[in-house]
């Protein structure tokens, strides 16, 4: 009774404010409900990693089994292969694919002809809008031993044709190359913006002091984009175990599992197709925890090295 009285009393500002803006609050309902159903429920539903998920009992009534599925996954004979493949591809991405757009932005920045610069950008941004399936198709065609252009060239030089997609040795190179091909141009936009944000007066002052283009690049351009580079590097490290399922899955086949089967593709096969829900959720949680720890570590390292971090 007391509460009801309180609610109706004019002196209760929160309720008055809520009632006054009830339409605004009502607008928020679909978004809040969506996030609750598709983000929060599955987040709590991740407890099935610690349970024996039973279709008939559902998420909440299934029996607790503790860390059984984590043990099972860590003791799985291919566990090291999965983890190693994931880490190796991620490492190559960081070494080769991450710097590509930075270098591209720096080269574009040095161009003197604006029309040429625009044309290059238009062409290099295009692949970003093609789906991974289409790029997969381009790749299959290009590397096809029967009709593909690359093997035509290899044959023209008198070498043996190569079944690129059927050779585990080429898988990681294909992933890195196709990733650069698709996203190099697009990812350069952020760095181009960082470059555009450098004050022209810095360059003017450097010129007066007699600094050539190389000196300007070293002492103005590089420090100017460093914050953007660090930020994106941190985000990349936080996503070390997320490699982009769509990309890997389109090129992967059982022959290339040896070098290309990663945590995500394994989770999909075992989880969705085989129905091992609890075990693959354990993999998902493992990924989330490792990703979060890596992010914390990288953030700390970045703070002590450059004084910048995300949080």
């Amino acid at each position: 009774m007391e509460q009801i009285d309180k609610k109706h009393s004019p002196g209760f500002p929160l309720l008055k404010s809520v009632l006054k803006h009830r339409i605004l609050y009502a607008m928020l309902i679909p978004g809040i409900v969506y996030l609750f159903i598709f983000k929060y429920i599955p987040l709590f539903g991740s407890v099935i990693a610690f349970k024996d998920y039973n279709i008939y009992k559902g998420i909440w009534a299934s029996d607790w089994v503790g860390f059984k599925y984590f043990y099972q996954f860590f003791n799985y004979p291919q566990f090291t292969r999965l983890l190693w493949n994931t880490l190796a591809i991620s490492f190559y991405q960081t070494i080769f694919a991450f710097p590509a757009p930075i270098i591209l932005a720096l080269l574009l920045n040095e161009l003197r002809n604006a029309a040429f610069k625009r044309s290059v950008q238009t062409i290099l941004y295009l692949p970003h809008f093609l789906s991974w399936v289409i790029i997969g198709g381009l790749g299959y065609m290009l590397m096809s031993p029967q009709v593909g252009l690359i093997n035509q060239w290899i044959a023209a030089f008198g070498f043996e044709k190569i079944h690129f997609l059927q050779e585990p040795g080429y898988f990681r190179s294909i992933i890195i190359t196709s990733g650069i091909w698709k996203e190099m141009g697009w990812n350069a936009i952020i760095f181009l913006a960082a470059l555009a944000g450098i004050s022209p007066s810095l360059y003017e002052a450097a010129k007066i002091d007699g600094a050539g283009r190389w000196k300007q690049f070293l002492h103005i351009t590089m420090p100017g984009i460093l914050p953007a580079v660090m930020l994106l590097l941190l985000l990349k490290i936080g996503h070390t175990l997320d490699l982009g399922f769509e990309q890997i899955y389109i090129f992967l086949n059982p022959i290339t599992y040896a070098t290309g089967d990663v945590l995500d593709t394994y989770s999909y096969r075992e989880g969705i197709i085989q129905g091992k829900y609890s075990m693959t959720t354990a993999i998902g949680l493992f990924k989330a925890v490792v990703g979060f720890l890596l992010l914390l570590m990288a953030n700390r390292a970045s703070k002590s090295l450059t004084g910048q971090g995300i949080f």
Partner: protein, 292 residues
């Protein structure tokens, strides 16, 4: 004032132009090779004569694709998902962002934390799958729309933009007796037209290009969107699909030529809108990066 370039600079500038031109060539050649292959004769393909120019130019691969009913069914499912999905995405984004852009709305920080939390801690694939399954969305077109009804990232972009709109405009409208719903549609959205275009295109391209959601939630052939159809055609070299296409054709067709023609038809919508989207996308990518 033109400062004279040193020899070293001249060499660098020339090398720079060459490197960037080569990068462009690397992007263009695979695309030309696919176009050329799709327009060449079976004979030329088998003997690996096609590089970047069609040999024995003909449209027979395209004719076969055009006649293929499975392809067009997948195509129309994709169109449906793009149109309805993007519409729902935009409504969700706009109506969630608008109230949160009001500085006087109580509890908005709590709701923002509620939203941002899901960006840092996102659920693994399987529990999401189980929820989608429990709701009964598996093997319906809605499985490709409702589980991805809102992108928190795009929501934050939209929110940033709405915040920059002057509150006086809304005050004046309120004095005139305009309701909140009409204010959203008649003031906030028209004033944010560039960002609305950008977000709409972000969502539309996502829907058109994504195959992971369909791979997870769609197993019935007649519900497969275009990208999943292409996936089966390309990665699995689905012989049933291939035979179905070839059976409807009178001439002997090469599977790879057919694959490439199908891929080209699926790419056409993107290529047509590309000049238009490029401008908007760059703006969006920049706003997005500032937000990060």
């Amino acid at each position: 004032m033109q400062i004279r370039r040193s020899l070293g600079e001249k060499i660098f500038d020339a090398a720079n132009v060459i490197i960037l031109a080569l990068a462009c060539v690397t992007v263009i050649i695979p695309i030309l090779h696919v176009i050329a292959s799709s327009l060449s004769s079976t004979n030329a393909l088998i003997h690996a004569k096609v590089s970047i120019w069609p040999v024995d130019f003909n449209w027979s691969n395209y004719e076969a694709v055009m006649k293929n009913k499975t392809f067009w069914r997948s195509f129309s499912i994709s169109i449906f998902v793009v149109v309805v999905g993007t519409l729902i995405n935009m409504l969700m984004t706009i109506f969630t962002a608008y109230p949160l852009s009001k500085s006087y709305l109580r509890g908005k920080n709590a709701i923002l934390i509620y939203i941002v939390f899901t960006m840092i801690f996102y659920p693994p694939m399987i529990p999401v799958y189980l929820v989608v399954k429990d709701i009964g969305l598996i093997n319906t077109v809605w499985a490709m729309i409702i589980p991805v009804a809102l992108s928190q990232f795009n929501l934050l972009i939209c929110l940033t933009f709405f915040r920059s709109l002057p509150e006086e405009l809304f005050e004046a409208a309120r004095v005139d007796g305009m309701g909140e719903m009409r204010m959203v549609m008649q003031i906030a959205v028209p004033l944010s037209k560039p960002i609305m275009m950008t977000l709409g295109l972000f969502y539309a391209v996502f829907h058109w290009n994504s195959y992971a959601t369909a791979l997870l939630y769609i197993t019935k052939t007649h519900l497969k969107p275009l990208q999943l159809y292409l996936y089966n055609l390309v990665a699995k070299s689905d012989m049933n699909d291939m035979l179905a296409i070839a059976a409807e054709s009178t001439t002997q067709l090469n599977p790879q030529g057919l694959q490439m023609a199908t891929i080209m038809v699926a790419t056409v919508p993107i290529v047509i809108i590309y000049p238009f989207i490029q401008k908007h996308f760059i703006k969006g990518a920049l706003i997005g990066s500032v937000k990060e």
